[in-house]
Structure formats: structure tokens, C-alpha cells
């Protein structure tokens, strides 16, 4: 029996809320559309690009946009000013530079009979590049925001278009004087964004950036073949982000009505030191409360679930490894709970109440991964008030206590013998771990020993019969038995007394010899 206390190795808290950029989308909205938010994500339906040098830029969708989808229009001008307008659309970002270039973005929610032709207006004619894009999925429920506002960039060959906190979006650059030889958009080292180019000229470039699995930051850079001053912008839909907020720890739970914190947390414990052959008899999770601004649910229960098959990376991975829908959580095994209204004191470690299934979900010889959430996140229900708690954001502050035992199987040795089996006293025999005595054992009829029908012995028991049996030196004849022959032993006097009325019969040719010191006494007459 041993007790192993294993401190956490990795943890990640993910905020269901809408990231650092607040687009006024509440957790309640997200929760009501979790499938779109977590599964469908932001999806691009179609795009069109057009170029010209007229006063009013225009482009045409290849089909009527779906009712409720989100439309984005990116207008890049190589000259002019900042007076571009798009009637019925909302401007997200717009900036010009000294009358030599302009980058503007507008968006609108498609109506029931949305026109396919989109035409902007301006005061003067100039070269322009216009891209219109239709987005669906999560974009149907959340409005796009400016991720990185249109801004002037001094002459350089490297232009950063940060997509930090973005699920998916559009970036664009435009140059107003001279051209660049090449413009290449790429992700920063370590990023996993996917990129799609909408427009590419030597004066303007408009591209789509989608974070890894539509959930992660996308840090991208335009690299120009020729250093040029540009204007650049990024718009899109923020993804959920970390629920760790210094110095308040990492949050789990749901805040339904405000753009504040809510999340789920994944924690990993290296349980590779618990051998596979061992039997776990108890497992307890201890989580440490955050250092300040403590929150604990008043009506929801803290619930811990096993997610052993899902690696939880600290950064640059799919946030969906942590965030689960109620349906997904309901399919997980609940391993521990802590009741609503429980005490929760800063920087204090609390043991959760283990479910019976916890011990079988300790991933012996590997990594044990747990999802920290609430009963609300399992059922999909929402209370009127926030049901949130915050734990320390340091993985090594939380630990698993595992009591385990090495299971050793001692073979049971059963020797079965029939009652008549004889054991030779002087013959040591070692019984194998499992031996069944058969008739092949030596039998000496005159020293019959009875062995119980079933004998249990440890494997190393040796049987050495330590006693010798001696046959008595004399045998007495019982009355009525006629001794017909008495063996002669050298130098031992033997006396044969014939009691009264005894008869010695010497048959034909028999001889009775009386040798030295022998006596033949005959009864007196």
C-alpha cells in the first residue's frame, strides 16, 4: 500500500465569453447557440472581388446572401480620402493617409431579400479594390468587430496584421504611391492559422485569416517585396480566450448576463508513476482557491469530469479541448463534486468529494486529465446569477491524492493424494507450486501412512520424514498357533519350552539335534 500525491503539471482555463474584445455578446447568447459557437464556428459562404478606378466602388455576390448572414465589404483605394460610404452598412474601420490611400471596412446583417450588388460611394474617382464576403455559422449570431483598426504603417517590408483574440476575420493592406513587387501573408512562427487570399494586386491585398480550428489567435504578417507605406486593418469575430485573470486565478462556471467571466478548466496530472498493475483504492482531487476576489456558486455544483483522452496544452492548441457543450459533458464520467454554497477561502486547498468512478478514471501509467466545470455546464441550464468559482491559475497548486496497492497473487498449492499413499520416511520430497500426487509416488505397504485427502502447503515446503521404524525383535505366537520353525540366530541362546501336553512331532526322516548346552527336558512320569 502506498499514497501518491501528484501535483498538477498543466492547466488551461478557457473563457466561454467573447474574449478580450467585447462585442456585446453575452454568455447567455453564446449558450443559446453553443453548436454554432463551438462546432459550426464562423463559416465563409462566398466572396467576390472587383477592381476599378471609378468614383463608386462596386462588387456583386454570385448569389443572394442568406437571410441573417453577416456581410463584410472591404474597400481599398490607392488615392483619395476617407469619405467612402456604404448606405445601409455599418462602418467597422476606416482610415486614410494624406490623400494617397484609404482602407475602409463595412458590415451588415443580410435581410430576407438582400441585394447581390453592393455599391459604395465616394466624392472622387480613384483606383479601388473592393471585396465583399458573406459569413454564416456563428457569424449569424454575433456581430463582427474591429480587431485591429485601420491605421497607417510607415514604409517597411513587414506589416503585422494581428488577429489576436480572433476566430476568423479579414485583413487588408493598401499602398497609395508606387507598387510592391510581392506581398505574402504568413502566420507567425508557431501559429496555425489558415489563410485565404481574396484580392492580390501590387497595390492592395485582402485576405482571410482563420485561427487554428477557428478558436485560436492568428498572428500574421505581410511581407512585401518592396518597402512601402501602407494602411492596414483587421476585422472579424473574437474567439473565447483564457479564463485566467491575474490576480484572480482561473474561472469556471457561467456568468449569464454580462460580458465578464465564465469558463471551463482542464488540468493534467502525471500519473505515470502509478503502475498499471496496481490497484487504486482511493483518489481525491484537491483544488486550491485563488488568492483574491473569491467566488463560489450559490446554486450550481462544482463538477469534475474525466477527459483522459484529451491532451490539454497550455497554448496554441484548440480551445475546444477544454470547452465542452452540455451534451458533450453529459457523456463524460463525473469523478468528483463540491456542493453549492461551500466555504471558499483565499489560497486554501479544498478536497472535492470523489465519485465511485474516480478510481477507475485514474489513468495509471499515463496522464490523468480532468475537466473542471459546473452542473450548469452539464445540464445547459442557466441561473439568474453568476455561478462561478475561481481557482489558482498555477497547475502545481492543485493535486491528486491516490492510495494504491500492489496486487500480488500468491498461487494456492493444493496437493491431492489418495488416503493410501505412502511416504517413504527417508526420502525428502519438494512439492512444486502445484503438485498432484499420483500413484507414481513410492509405496511401501508396511509403512502405510494416511495423508488427508487435501493438503495445502506453501511451494517451498519440503517433506522429510524424520522417523525410522524398527520391527520388533520378537514375535510372540498366540495360542493355538503352531510354531513350525524357529529361525536360528548366531550365538543367541534360544529356548523352546513345550508346556504340558505339548507334542513335538518328528515326521519321517526328521532329525532332532541337541547341540552344545542344549537341554531336552521331558516331563516326569
Amino acid at each position: 500500500m502506498a499514497t501518491s500525491v501528484i501535483y498538477g503539471s498543466t492547466m488551461r482555463g478557457q473563457n466561454i465569453q467573447y474574449g478580450s474584445v467585447d462585442p456585446a455578446v453575452t454568455a447567455a447568447t453564446i449558450y443559446g447557440n453553443l453548436t454554432s459557437f463551438l462546432t459550426t464556428k464562423v463559416t465563409r459562404t462566398r466572396f467576390t472581388n472587383n477592381t476599378g478606378s471609378t468614383t463608386n466602388p462596386t462588387a456583386t455576390f454570385s448569389a443572394t446572401p442568406a437571410n441573417g448572414s453577416a456581410l463584410i465589404a472591404v474597400i481599398l483605394r490607392t488615392a483619395d480620402n476617407t469619405t467612402t460610404t456604404l448606405s445601409g452598412w455599418t462602418q467597422l474601420s476606416n482610415a486614410g493617409a494624406g490623400g494617397v490611400r484609404q482602407a475602409a471596412v463595412f458590415w451588415k446583417r443580410a435581410g430576407a431579400s438582400e441585394p447581390t450588388v453592393v455599391t459604395a460611394t465616394n466624392a472622387t474617382a480613384a483606383a479601388w479594390n473592393m471585396t465583399i464576403i458573406e459569413y454564416d455559422g456563428w457569424a449569424r449570431y454575433a456581430d463582427p468587430v474591429s480587431i485591429s483598426a485601420s491605421a497607417t504603417v510607415a514604409s517597411t517590408t513587414s506589416i503585422s496584421v494581428p488577429g489576436t483574440g480572433m476566430m476568423a476575420g479579414v485583413c487588408a493592406i493598401v499602398n497609395g504611391s508606387g507598387t510592391w513587387t510581392t506581398a505574402t501573408l504568413s502566420t507567425t512562427t508557431g501559429s496555425n492559422a489558415s489563410l485565404t487570399q481574396f484580392a492580390a494586386t501590387t497595390l492592395a491585398n485582402c485576405s482571410e485569416i482563420v485561427g487554428y480550428n477557428n478558436s485560436e489567435d492568428a498572428l500574421c504578417t505581410y511581407t512585401l517585396g518592396t518597402a512601402r507605406a501602407t494602411n492596414r486593418l483587421v476585422v472579424g469575430w473574437p474567439h473565447n480566450t483564457t479564463s485566467a485573470v491575474a490576480p484572480f486565478g482561473t474561472f469556471a462556471g457561467i456568468t449569464p448576463s454580462t460580458a465578464s467571466l465564465a469558463g471551463q478548466i482542464g488540468i493534467e496530472f502525471d500519473t505515470s508513476t502509478i503502475p498499471l498493475a496496481n490497484t487504486v483504492s482511493a483518489a481525491t482531487l484537491t483544488l486550491k482557491a485563488a488568492g483574491s476576489s473569491l467566488l463560489w456558486p450559490s446554486t450550481a455544483t462544482s463538477e469534475i469530469f474525466s477527459i483522459n483522452s484529451t491532451a490539454i496544452a497550455k497554448t496554441a492548441s484548440n480551445t475546444r479541448t477544454v470547452w465542452r457543450t452540455p451534451t458533450e459533458i453529459a457523456a463524460l464520467t463525473k469523478v468528483a463534486t463540491r456542493a453549492a454554497g461551500s466555504a471558499w477561502v483565499a489560497s486554501t486547498a479544498y478536497a472535492w468529494t470523489s465519485e465511485a468512478a474516480f478510481i477507475s478514471n485514474i489513468n495509471q501509467g499515463s496522464t490523468t486529465r480532468l475537466l473542471v466545470g459546473t452542473s450548469e455546464q452539464r445540464t445547459g441550464s442557466l441561473a439568474g446569477s453568476q455561478q462561478v468559482y475561481n481557482i489558482s491559475d498555477t497547475a502545481a497548486d492543485h493535486f491528486l491524492t491516490i492510495v494504491h496497492d500492489r496486487l500480488v497473487t500468491i498461487p494456492t498449492v493444493t496437493a491431492t493424494a489418495t488416503p493410501s499413499i505412502s511416504r517413504i520416511p527417508s526420502f525428502p520430497r519438494t512439492i512444486a507450486a502445484s503438485a498432484t500426487a499420483t500413484a507414481a509416488l513410492s509405496r511401501i505397504p508396511s509403512f502405510a501412512r494416511t495423508i488427508a485427502a487435501a493438503v495445502t502447503a506453501t511451494p517451498s515446503i519440503s517433506r522429510i520424514t524424520s522417523f525410522a521404524r524398527t520391527i520388533a525383535a520378537s514375535a510372540a505366537a498366540v495360542p493355538a498357533i503352531v510354531a513350525t520353525y524357529q529361525p536360528f540366530s548366531v550365538q543367541l541362546p534360544r529356548i523352546l519350552r513345550l508346556a504340558g501336553r505339548s507334542t513335538i512331532t518328528l515326521v519321517t526322516q526328521s532329525t532332532l539335534r541337541l547341540l552344545g548346552r542344549s537341554t531336552l527336558k521331558l516331563p516326569k512320569e
Binding site: M1, T3, V5, S9, G291, S347, T348, F399, V403
Partner: protein, 108 residues
Amino acid sequence: MTALDDWWAVEADQSLTDSEKVALYNDIRAAAFLAVELPFYVDDLQITNIAVAGNRVDVSGLGNFSWPLRIYNGPVGVADIDGNVTKADGSTWYSDPIEVIAQCIRSA
């Protein structure tokens, strides 16, 4: 300067890689736990031996407990409102590794 101070200095050092931090944590942990005077008691248990290997602290003793107690990646102190050492973030901690052992034993 307590072991906790050394620990937090490593924790705050942005120039160190994760593996470098792990190695330093192991050194700090070993020094702290091996300096504990034996025996001592946790509730009705007597702690008679402490051994350190890598990230593991092995604790054995007398009394009704599933010995040995093996602590993996453990800290060298425990946060407590009455602690004797204050971290940069304002939290207070007990700097004695005995508190870590006591917390682990009581969690079982």
C-alpha cells in the same frame, strides 16, 4: 531567505526554460525536505524518514497510514492566511516543508 523565496525567484525568472525551472525546483525541493529534522509528528503519525529523488519526495513513518507517502512535483511551502512568508502577490505562506507533508497526509 527561505526555500520558498528561492522557489518564487525561479518562478518569476522569465529567462528560464520550463526544463531549467524543473531542475531548479528539484534542487530547491531536495534541499528543503532533506533539512527537515526527524522524527516529527503529523496528528497521530510519526514521520521517521524522508528521501528525495528527482521530483519525488518519499516520506515514511509510523502509524495507521498507507505508507510510503510519495509526493510528486510538490511545493516547498503551503499558502495559508497565517503563513510566515509573503509572496510578491501578497499571499502568505508557511515556508516549512513539514506543512506540505501534513497537507498531503490529511488529503488522503
